[in-house]
Protein backbone atom coordinates (compact mmCIF):
# COMPACT_ATOMS: atom_id res chain seq x y z
CA UNK A 1 0.00 0.00 0.00
CA UNK A 2 1.20 3.53 -0.62
CA UNK A 3 3.06 5.18 2.26
CA UNK A 4 5.35 8.18 2.56
CA UNK A 5 8.96 8.07 3.78
CA UNK A 6 10.35 11.31 5.18
CA UNK A 7 14.07 11.71 4.49
CA UNK A 8 16.21 13.98 6.73
CA UNK A 9 18.40 16.73 5.30
CA UNK A 10 21.56 14.71 5.95
CA UNK A 11 20.44 11.96 3.55
CA UNK A 12 18.89 14.05 0.79
CA UNK A 13 22.05 13.98 -1.30
CA UNK A 14 20.95 10.40 -2.03
CA UNK A 15 17.39 11.35 -3.02
CA UNK A 16 18.28 14.20 -5.32
CA UNK A 17 17.31 16.69 -2.63
CA UNK A 18 13.83 15.28 -2.13
CA UNK A 19 12.50 15.17 1.47
CA UNK A 20 9.46 12.93 0.96
CA UNK A 21 9.36 9.79 -1.11
CA UNK A 22 6.26 7.69 -1.88
CA UNK A 23 6.77 3.92 -1.72
CA UNK A 24 4.74 0.73 -1.53
CA UNK A 25 5.09 -1.05 1.82
CA UNK A 26 3.22 -2.65 4.72
CA UNK A 27 5.97 -2.49 7.36
CA UNK A 28 8.61 0.08 8.34
CA UNK A 29 11.37 -2.25 7.13
CA UNK A 30 9.72 -2.71 3.75
CA UNK A 31 9.32 1.03 3.39
CA UNK A 32 13.04 1.62 4.03
CA UNK A 33 14.07 -1.17 1.62
CA UNK A 34 11.74 0.25 -1.01
CA UNK A 35 13.34 3.65 -0.50
CA UNK A 36 16.75 2.08 -1.10
CA UNK A 37 15.49 0.43 -4.27
CA UNK A 38 14.49 3.87 -5.59
CA UNK A 39 17.59 5.62 -4.27
CA UNK A 40 20.45 3.13 -4.00
CA UNK A 41 22.94 3.80 -1.23
CA UNK A 42 20.41 4.64 1.45
CA UNK A 43 20.31 1.19 3.02
CA UNK A 44 23.96 1.19 4.01
CA UNK A 45 23.43 4.48 5.78
CA UNK A 46 20.44 3.17 7.70
CA UNK A 47 21.37 -0.44 8.45
CA UNK A 48 24.27 -2.28 10.04
CA UNK A 49 25.74 -5.13 8.02
CA UNK A 50 23.68 -7.45 10.21
CA UNK A 51 20.53 -5.82 8.85
CA UNK A 52 19.55 -4.10 12.09
CA UNK A 53 18.89 -0.40 12.19
CA UNK A 54 21.95 1.72 13.04
CA UNK A 55 21.95 2.87 16.66
CA UNK A 56 21.74 6.58 15.90
CA UNK A 57 19.09 6.27 13.22
CA UNK A 58 15.61 6.58 14.65
CA UNK A 59 12.56 5.62 12.64
CA UNK A 60 9.08 6.75 13.56
CA UNK A 61 5.78 5.43 12.27
CA UNK A 62 2.89 7.75 13.08
CA UNK A 63 5.20 9.55 15.52
CA UNK A 64 6.03 6.35 17.48
CA UNK A 65 9.65 5.16 17.66
CA UNK A 66 9.64 1.69 16.09
CA UNK A 67 12.29 0.52 18.60
CA UNK A 68 9.48 0.47 21.13
CA UNK A 69 7.02 -1.09 18.72
CA UNK A 70 7.69 -4.12 16.55
CA UNK A 71 10.96 -2.74 15.18
CA UNK A 72 11.34 -3.07 11.43
CA UNK A 73 8.23 -5.28 11.44
CA UNK A 74 6.12 -2.37 12.71
CA UNK A 75 3.08 -2.22 10.43
CA UNK A 76 2.43 0.86 8.34
CA UNK A 77 -1.12 1.68 7.33
CA UNK A 78 -2.08 3.19 4.00
CA UNK A 79 -1.19 6.85 3.81
CA UNK A 80 0.94 6.79 6.99
CA UNK A 81 4.36 8.40 7.18
CA UNK A 82 7.63 6.67 8.06
CA UNK A 83 10.11 9.28 9.32
CA UNK A 84 13.87 8.79 9.43
CA UNK A 85 15.33 10.96 12.18
CA UNK A 86 19.04 10.96 12.98
CA UNK A 87 19.56 10.95 16.77
CA UNK A 88 22.32 13.50 16.72
CA UNK A 89 23.98 13.45 20.11
CA UNK A 90 23.88 16.53 22.24
CA UNK A 91 23.14 17.61 25.71
CA UNK A 92 24.57 17.75 29.18
Amino acid sequence: MPVTVRVPTQLRSLTGGVGEVAVEASTAGEALRALDALHPGLAERLFEESGSLRRFVNVFVADEDIRFGAGLETPVAEGETVSIVPAVAGGA
Binding site: R45, R55, F56, A92
Partner: protein, 428 residues
Protein backbone atom coordinates in the same frame (compact mmCIF):
# COMPACT_ATOMS: atom_id res chain seq x y z
CA UNK B 1 53.87 20.16 21.61
CA UNK B 2 50.28 21.08 21.00
CA UNK B 3 47.92 18.12 20.94
CA UNK B 4 50.71 15.72 19.99
CA UNK B 5 48.95 12.91 21.80
CA UNK B 6 45.53 13.61 20.31
CA UNK B 7 45.18 12.41 16.76
CA UNK B 8 41.63 12.75 15.47
CA UNK B 9 37.95 12.54 16.19
CA UNK B 10 36.61 9.04 15.68
CA UNK B 11 33.02 7.87 15.32
CA UNK B 12 32.12 5.64 18.26
CA UNK B 13 29.86 3.58 16.03
CA UNK B 14 31.50 3.12 12.63
CA UNK B 15 35.07 4.25 13.33
CA UNK B 16 35.29 6.88 10.57
CA UNK B 17 37.80 9.59 11.47
CA UNK B 18 37.44 13.36 11.34
CA UNK B 19 39.79 16.31 11.92
CA UNK B 20 40.01 17.89 15.39
CA UNK B 21 37.42 20.57 14.68
CA UNK B 22 34.02 21.58 16.06
CA UNK B 23 32.31 18.39 14.90
CA UNK B 24 30.21 16.10 17.02
CA UNK B 25 28.35 13.61 14.86
CA UNK B 26 29.40 11.24 12.12
CA UNK B 27 28.22 12.30 8.66
CA UNK B 28 27.87 8.68 7.68
CA UNK B 29 26.02 6.92 10.50
CA UNK B 30 25.17 9.83 12.87
CA UNK B 31 27.12 8.24 15.74
CA UNK B 32 28.82 10.54 18.27
CA UNK B 33 32.44 11.50 17.70
CA UNK B 34 35.08 10.92 20.35
CA UNK B 35 38.66 12.13 20.72
CA UNK B 36 41.32 9.52 19.93
CA UNK B 37 44.60 9.45 21.85
CA UNK B 38 47.99 7.85 21.29
CA UNK B 39 47.99 5.89 24.53
CA UNK B 40 51.32 4.21 23.87
CA UNK B 41 53.10 7.53 23.45
CA UNK B 42 51.35 8.95 26.51
CA UNK B 43 52.17 5.87 28.60
CA UNK B 44 55.84 6.16 27.68
CA UNK B 45 56.07 9.56 29.39
CA UNK B 46 56.93 10.05 33.08
CA UNK B 47 53.26 10.73 33.80
CA UNK B 48 53.26 10.59 37.58
CA UNK B 49 56.03 13.19 37.71
CA UNK B 50 54.30 15.39 35.10
CA UNK B 51 51.05 15.23 37.04
CA UNK B 52 52.65 15.82 40.44
CA UNK B 53 54.35 18.93 39.02
CA UNK B 54 51.10 20.22 37.52
CA UNK B 55 48.56 22.66 38.94
CA UNK B 56 45.95 21.62 41.52
CA UNK B 57 43.24 21.74 38.87
CA UNK B 58 41.97 19.42 36.13
CA UNK B 59 44.88 20.65 34.02
CA UNK B 60 47.35 18.50 35.95
CA UNK B 61 46.01 15.73 33.66
CA UNK B 62 46.82 17.60 30.45
CA UNK B 63 48.38 14.47 28.96
CA UNK B 64 44.94 12.80 28.90
CA UNK B 65 42.83 15.81 27.93
CA UNK B 66 41.88 16.62 24.33
CA UNK B 67 43.37 20.10 24.17
CA UNK B 68 46.83 21.21 25.20
CA UNK B 69 47.16 24.84 26.22
CA UNK B 70 49.64 26.44 28.62
CA UNK B 71 46.94 28.90 29.70
CA UNK B 72 43.60 27.14 29.59
CA UNK B 73 40.28 28.90 30.10
CA UNK B 74 39.66 28.12 33.75
CA UNK B 75 38.63 29.28 37.18
CA UNK B 76 40.64 26.65 39.04
CA UNK B 77 38.05 23.88 38.75
CA UNK B 78 38.89 20.35 39.75
CA UNK B 79 41.14 18.79 42.38
CA UNK B 80 38.15 18.83 44.71
CA UNK B 81 38.24 17.06 48.09
CA UNK B 82 37.88 13.28 48.29
CA UNK B 83 36.66 12.86 51.83
CA UNK B 84 36.31 9.71 53.91
CA UNK B 85 32.71 9.46 55.05
CA UNK B 86 32.72 7.32 58.21
CA UNK B 87 29.51 8.61 59.71
CA UNK B 88 27.54 8.23 56.48
CA UNK B 89 29.09 4.80 55.91
CA UNK B 90 27.91 3.72 59.36
CA UNK B 91 24.38 4.95 58.58
CA UNK B 92 24.32 3.00 55.32
CA UNK B 93 25.98 -0.13 56.64
CA UNK B 94 29.00 0.33 54.43
CA UNK B 95 32.70 -0.04 55.16
CA UNK B 96 35.11 2.25 53.33
CA UNK B 97 33.08 5.09 51.79
CA UNK B 98 34.50 8.22 50.15
CA UNK B 99 32.73 11.25 48.75
CA UNK B 100 34.07 13.15 45.77
CA UNK B 101 32.96 16.63 46.77
CA UNK B 102 32.42 18.49 43.50
CA UNK B 103 30.32 21.09 45.30
CA UNK B 104 33.73 22.68 45.89
CA UNK B 105 34.17 23.73 42.26
CA UNK B 106 34.23 27.45 41.42
CA UNK B 107 30.62 27.60 40.18
CA UNK B 108 29.50 24.85 42.53
CA UNK B 109 29.27 21.85 40.24
CA UNK B 110 31.30 19.33 38.24
CA UNK B 111 30.44 21.28 35.10
CA UNK B 112 33.53 23.45 35.66
CA UNK B 113 35.57 20.43 34.58
CA UNK B 114 33.87 19.95 31.24
CA UNK B 115 33.44 23.64 30.48
CA UNK B 116 37.09 24.46 31.07
CA UNK B 117 38.02 21.84 28.48
CA UNK B 118 35.30 22.89 26.02
CA UNK B 119 36.06 26.60 26.11
CA UNK B 120 39.81 26.11 25.96
CA UNK B 121 39.23 24.16 22.74
CA UNK B 122 36.65 26.69 21.53
CA UNK B 123 39.14 29.54 21.98
CA UNK B 124 41.81 27.54 20.17
CA UNK B 125 39.40 27.05 17.25
CA UNK B 126 38.72 30.80 17.16
CA UNK B 127 35.21 30.91 18.61
CA UNK B 128 34.13 34.10 20.36
CA UNK B 129 30.67 33.02 21.45
CA UNK B 130 30.14 30.28 24.05
CA UNK B 131 26.72 28.65 24.27
CA UNK B 132 24.93 25.65 25.70
CA UNK B 133 21.68 23.83 26.37
CA UNK B 134 21.54 23.40 30.12
CA UNK B 135 19.60 22.12 33.08
CA UNK B 136 21.26 24.94 35.03
CA UNK B 137 24.67 23.97 36.31
CA UNK B 138 26.22 24.05 32.87
CA UNK B 139 24.71 27.47 32.16
CA UNK B 140 26.35 28.96 35.25
CA UNK B 141 29.69 27.41 34.42
CA UNK B 142 29.62 28.46 30.76
CA UNK B 143 28.76 32.03 31.76
CA UNK B 144 31.56 32.23 34.33
CA UNK B 145 34.23 30.71 32.10
CA UNK B 146 33.18 32.84 29.13
CA UNK B 147 33.48 35.92 31.35
CA UNK B 148 36.97 34.81 32.35
CA UNK B 149 38.00 34.32 28.73
CA UNK B 150 36.37 37.50 27.42
CA UNK B 151 33.90 35.52 25.34
CA UNK B 152 30.24 36.37 24.84
CA UNK B 153 27.88 33.71 26.20
CA UNK B 154 24.33 32.63 25.50
CA UNK B 155 22.68 29.88 27.50
CA UNK B 156 19.36 28.16 26.89
CA UNK B 157 17.53 26.57 29.81
CA UNK B 158 14.08 25.14 30.44
CA UNK B 159 11.79 27.73 31.98
CA UNK B 160 11.05 27.70 35.74
CA UNK B 161 14.48 26.34 36.63
CA UNK B 162 15.84 26.87 40.16
CA UNK B 163 16.45 30.57 40.71
CA UNK B 164 20.10 30.28 41.79
CA UNK B 165 21.11 28.59 38.56
CA UNK B 166 19.69 31.17 36.20
CA UNK B 167 20.79 33.96 38.57
CA UNK B 168 24.39 32.81 38.41
CA UNK B 169 24.42 32.66 34.63
CA UNK B 170 22.76 36.07 34.33
CA UNK B 171 25.09 37.78 36.80
CA UNK B 172 28.16 36.35 35.07
CA UNK B 173 26.89 38.21 32.03
CA UNK B 174 25.36 35.50 29.87
CA UNK B 175 22.37 36.10 27.66
CA UNK B 176 20.02 33.73 29.47
CA UNK B 177 17.10 32.46 27.45
CA UNK B 178 14.40 30.41 29.19
CA UNK B 179 12.64 28.11 26.77
CA UNK B 180 9.02 27.12 27.21
CA UNK B 181 9.72 23.41 27.16
CA UNK B 182 11.67 20.67 28.90
CA UNK B 183 15.40 20.11 28.59
CA UNK B 184 15.04 17.75 25.65
CA UNK B 185 13.23 20.46 23.71
CA UNK B 186 15.91 23.00 24.66
CA UNK B 187 18.51 20.55 23.42
CA UNK B 188 16.74 20.01 20.11
CA UNK B 189 16.54 23.76 19.64
CA UNK B 190 20.28 24.06 20.28
CA UNK B 191 21.02 21.38 17.69
CA UNK B 192 19.06 23.51 15.20
CA UNK B 193 20.85 26.66 16.36
CA UNK B 194 24.26 25.10 15.73
CA UNK B 195 23.37 24.81 12.06
CA UNK B 196 22.27 28.48 11.94
CA UNK B 197 25.14 29.97 13.97
CA UNK B 198 28.33 28.26 12.93
CA UNK B 199 30.44 30.80 14.80
CA UNK B 200 28.94 29.77 18.16
CA UNK B 201 30.62 27.14 20.30
CA UNK B 202 27.87 25.08 21.93
CA UNK B 203 29.77 23.26 24.66
CA UNK B 204 27.47 20.27 24.61
CA UNK B 205 26.64 20.19 20.92
CA UNK B 206 29.39 21.02 18.42
CA UNK B 207 32.12 21.00 21.11
CA UNK B 208 30.70 17.94 22.84
CA UNK B 209 33.50 15.54 21.90
CA UNK B 210 35.98 17.75 23.81
CA UNK B 211 33.61 18.90 26.54
CA UNK B 212 32.64 15.41 27.65
CA UNK B 213 36.29 14.41 28.12
CA UNK B 214 36.51 16.80 31.09
CA UNK B 215 34.54 14.36 33.23
CA UNK B 216 37.39 11.84 33.01
CA UNK B 217 39.24 14.02 35.49
CA UNK B 218 36.85 12.79 38.20
CA UNK B 219 38.29 9.30 37.75
CA UNK B 220 41.85 10.63 37.53
CA UNK B 221 41.52 12.61 40.75
CA UNK B 222 39.82 9.82 42.66
CA UNK B 223 42.62 7.41 41.75
CA UNK B 224 45.39 9.88 42.50
CA UNK B 225 43.80 10.90 45.80
CA UNK B 226 43.62 7.23 46.77
CA UNK B 227 47.37 6.90 46.11
CA UNK B 228 47.02 5.88 42.45
CA UNK B 229 44.66 3.09 43.34
CA UNK B 230 41.29 2.55 41.74
CA UNK B 231 38.28 2.19 44.03
CA UNK B 232 36.13 -0.95 43.84
CA UNK B 233 32.83 0.77 43.15
CA UNK B 234 31.81 4.27 42.07
CA UNK B 235 28.23 5.59 42.21
CA UNK B 236 27.46 8.32 39.68
CA UNK B 237 24.32 10.32 38.91
CA UNK B 238 22.88 9.91 35.38
CA UNK B 239 21.44 12.85 33.47
CA UNK B 240 22.67 12.52 29.89
CA UNK B 241 24.89 9.60 30.94
CA UNK B 242 28.02 11.41 29.79
CA UNK B 243 29.60 11.84 33.22
CA UNK B 244 29.22 8.17 34.06
CA UNK B 245 30.51 7.03 30.68
CA UNK B 246 33.56 9.26 30.94
CA UNK B 247 34.36 8.25 34.52
CA UNK B 248 34.43 4.65 33.31
CA UNK B 249 36.63 5.70 30.40
CA UNK B 250 38.92 7.60 32.79
CA UNK B 251 39.61 4.51 34.88
CA UNK B 252 40.22 2.48 31.70
CA UNK B 253 42.72 5.05 30.50
CA UNK B 254 44.59 5.05 33.81
CA UNK B 255 45.09 1.32 33.31
CA UNK B 256 46.14 1.76 29.66
CA UNK B 257 48.84 4.31 30.41
CA UNK B 258 50.10 2.50 33.50
CA UNK B 259 49.16 5.07 36.13
CA UNK B 260 47.55 2.66 38.56
CA UNK B 261 49.41 0.75 41.24
CA UNK B 262 49.24 -3.01 40.77
CA UNK B 263 46.59 -4.60 38.61
CA UNK B 264 43.69 -2.54 39.90
CA UNK B 265 42.79 -1.17 36.49
CA UNK B 266 40.60 -4.19 36.08
CA UNK B 267 37.23 -4.00 37.65
CA UNK B 268 36.02 -0.65 38.88
CA UNK B 269 32.31 -1.29 39.23
CA UNK B 270 30.23 1.68 38.11
CA UNK B 271 26.65 2.15 39.25
CA UNK B 272 24.24 4.85 38.17
CA UNK B 273 21.64 6.90 40.03
CA UNK B 274 18.47 8.42 38.57
CA UNK B 275 15.37 10.13 39.89
CA UNK B 276 12.23 8.00 39.53
CA UNK B 277 10.51 10.85 37.71
CA UNK B 278 13.15 10.67 34.99
CA UNK B 279 14.68 7.22 34.94
CA UNK B 280 14.93 6.02 31.32
CA UNK B 281 18.35 4.44 31.90
CA UNK B 282 17.30 2.71 35.13
CA UNK B 283 14.22 1.39 33.32
CA UNK B 284 16.30 0.00 30.44
CA UNK B 285 18.68 -1.59 32.97
CA UNK B 286 15.74 -3.17 34.76
CA UNK B 287 14.27 -4.49 31.48
CA UNK B 288 17.61 -5.88 30.39
CA UNK B 289 17.30 -3.80 27.22
CA UNK B 290 19.84 -1.79 25.21
CA UNK B 291 17.23 0.68 24.01
CA UNK B 292 16.67 3.66 26.27
CA UNK B 293 13.06 4.72 25.87
CA UNK B 294 12.70 8.51 26.19
CA UNK B 295 10.43 9.83 28.95
CA UNK B 296 8.92 13.18 29.87
CA UNK B 297 10.71 14.22 33.08
CA UNK B 298 8.83 14.98 36.27
CA UNK B 299 11.20 15.32 39.22
CA UNK B 300 12.60 18.00 41.50
CA UNK B 301 16.07 16.79 40.47
CA UNK B 302 16.13 19.28 37.63
CA UNK B 303 19.82 18.89 36.86
CA UNK B 304 19.12 15.23 35.99
CA UNK B 305 15.81 15.85 34.22
CA UNK B 306 16.87 14.66 30.78
CA UNK B 307 14.23 12.42 29.28
CA UNK B 308 16.21 11.46 26.18
CA UNK B 309 19.77 10.98 27.44
CA UNK B 310 22.33 11.29 24.65
CA UNK B 311 24.73 8.85 26.31
CA UNK B 312 22.11 6.64 27.90
CA UNK B 313 23.14 3.66 25.80
CA UNK B 314 26.83 4.06 26.55
CA UNK B 315 26.15 4.59 30.27
CA UNK B 316 24.18 1.34 30.30
CA UNK B 317 27.04 -0.47 28.59
CA UNK B 318 29.56 0.91 31.10
CA UNK B 319 27.40 -0.15 34.03
CA UNK B 320 26.73 -3.64 32.69
CA UNK B 321 30.30 -4.27 31.59
CA UNK B 322 31.57 -3.33 35.04
CA UNK B 323 29.05 -5.37 37.02
CA UNK B 324 27.25 -2.34 38.45
CA UNK B 325 23.57 -1.45 38.54
CA UNK B 326 21.29 1.54 37.92
CA UNK B 327 18.99 2.54 40.78
CA UNK B 328 16.24 5.14 40.87
CA UNK B 329 14.88 7.06 43.86
CA UNK B 330 11.79 9.11 44.62
CA UNK B 331 11.81 12.84 45.27
CA UNK B 332 11.09 12.13 48.96
CA UNK B 333 14.06 9.77 49.14
CA UNK B 334 16.42 12.25 47.49
CA UNK B 335 15.33 15.02 49.89
CA UNK B 336 15.92 12.74 52.86
CA UNK B 337 19.36 11.88 51.45
CA UNK B 338 20.32 15.56 51.07
CA UNK B 339 19.64 15.94 54.79
CA UNK B 340 21.44 12.74 55.73
CA UNK B 341 24.56 13.71 53.78
CA UNK B 342 24.59 17.20 55.23
CA UNK B 343 23.99 16.03 58.83
CA UNK B 344 26.53 13.23 58.75
CA UNK B 345 29.32 14.72 56.68
CA UNK B 346 28.88 18.47 56.46
CA UNK B 347 28.41 18.43 52.69
CA UNK B 348 25.42 20.30 51.27
CA UNK B 349 24.45 18.77 47.95
CA UNK B 350 21.94 19.83 45.35
CA UNK B 351 19.18 17.47 44.29
CA UNK B 352 21.46 15.41 42.03
CA UNK B 353 23.67 14.68 45.05
CA UNK B 354 20.57 13.62 46.95
CA UNK B 355 19.74 11.24 44.11
CA UNK B 356 23.21 9.75 44.25
CA UNK B 357 23.26 9.27 48.03
CA UNK B 358 19.72 7.88 48.10
CA UNK B 359 20.61 5.45 45.31
CA UNK B 360 23.78 4.49 47.19
CA UNK B 361 21.64 3.74 50.26
CA UNK B 362 19.32 1.51 48.24
CA UNK B 363 22.17 -0.26 46.46
CA UNK B 364 23.87 -0.85 49.82
CA UNK B 365 20.66 -2.22 51.34
CA UNK B 366 20.28 -4.55 48.35
CA UNK B 367 23.87 -5.78 48.68
CA UNK B 368 24.85 -4.45 45.25
CA UNK B 369 27.29 -1.99 46.81
CA UNK B 370 29.07 -4.16 49.36
CA UNK B 371 30.55 -3.53 52.78
CA UNK B 372 33.90 -5.01 51.72
CA UNK B 373 34.24 -2.58 48.81
CA UNK B 374 36.10 0.72 48.68
CA UNK B 375 33.24 2.90 47.48
CA UNK B 376 33.23 6.43 46.05
CA UNK B 377 30.04 8.47 45.53
CA UNK B 378 30.08 11.53 43.30
CA UNK B 379 28.50 14.62 44.87
CA UNK B 380 28.20 16.69 41.73
CA UNK B 381 26.73 20.04 42.76
CA UNK B 382 26.15 22.45 45.62
CA UNK B 383 22.96 22.54 47.68
CA UNK B 384 22.63 26.32 47.56
CA UNK B 385 21.57 25.90 43.94
CA UNK B 386 18.36 24.07 44.83
CA UNK B 387 17.23 25.39 48.23
CA UNK B 388 13.67 26.01 47.09
CA UNK B 389 12.86 22.30 47.07
CA UNK B 390 13.85 21.80 50.71
CA UNK B 391 10.77 23.32 52.30
CA UNK B 392 10.64 23.26 56.11
CA UNK B 393 13.95 21.39 56.27
CA UNK B 394 15.67 24.64 55.30
CA UNK B 395 13.84 26.82 57.82
CA UNK B 396 14.70 27.79 61.42
CA UNK B 397 13.09 25.55 64.06
CA UNK B 398 11.74 28.61 65.87
CA UNK B 399 11.70 32.39 65.75
CA UNK B 400 12.06 33.87 69.23
CA UNK B 401 12.43 37.28 70.86
CA UNK B 402 15.99 38.03 72.05
CA UNK B 403 15.51 36.72 75.58
CA UNK B 404 17.01 33.81 77.49
CA UNK B 405 13.58 32.53 78.53
CA UNK B 406 12.24 32.44 75.02
CA UNK B 407 15.31 30.62 73.73
CA UNK B 408 15.18 28.05 76.51
CA UNK B 409 11.46 27.55 76.00
CA UNK B 410 11.95 26.88 72.30
CA UNK B 411 15.10 24.76 72.48
CA UNK B 412 15.47 23.68 76.09
CA UNK B 413 17.62 20.72 77.03
CA UNK B 414 16.92 18.84 73.83
CA UNK B 415 20.18 19.88 72.23
CA UNK B 416 22.36 18.83 75.12
CA UNK B 417 20.53 15.53 75.38
CA UNK B 418 21.02 14.87 71.68
CA UNK B 419 24.74 15.66 71.90
CA UNK B 420 25.10 13.13 74.70
CA UNK B 421 24.12 10.34 72.33
CA UNK B 422 26.53 11.32 69.57
CA UNK B 423 29.93 9.73 69.24
CA UNK B 424 32.38 12.48 68.32
CA UNK B 425 34.95 11.28 65.83
CA UNK B 426 38.53 12.10 66.65
CA UNK B 427 40.66 14.10 64.28
CA UNK B 428 39.03 13.53 60.88
Amino acid sequence: MADATVTALVCRECGRTYPLEALHACDWCFGPLEVAYEYEAIGARPLREEIAAGPRTIWRYRALLPVDDAQPVELGGGWTPLVRAERLAAELGLGELWLKDDTANPTGSFKDRVVSVALTKARQLGFKVAACASTGNLAASIAAHAARAGMVSVVLVPKDLERAKTAMAAVYGATVVAVDGDYDEVNRLCIELVAEHESWAFANVNLRAYYAEGSKTLAFEIAEQLGWRAPDHVVVPIGSGSQLTKIAKGFDELGKVGLLTGDESAGVRISGAQAEGCSPVAAAFERGSDAVRPVRPSTIARSLAIGNPADGYYALQSVRRSGGAVESVSDAELLEAIGLLARTEGIFAETAGGVTIAALAKLAAAGVVRRDERVVAIVSGHGLKTVEVLGAAAEPCATVPPTLEAFEAAVGEGLTERAATEEVLACR
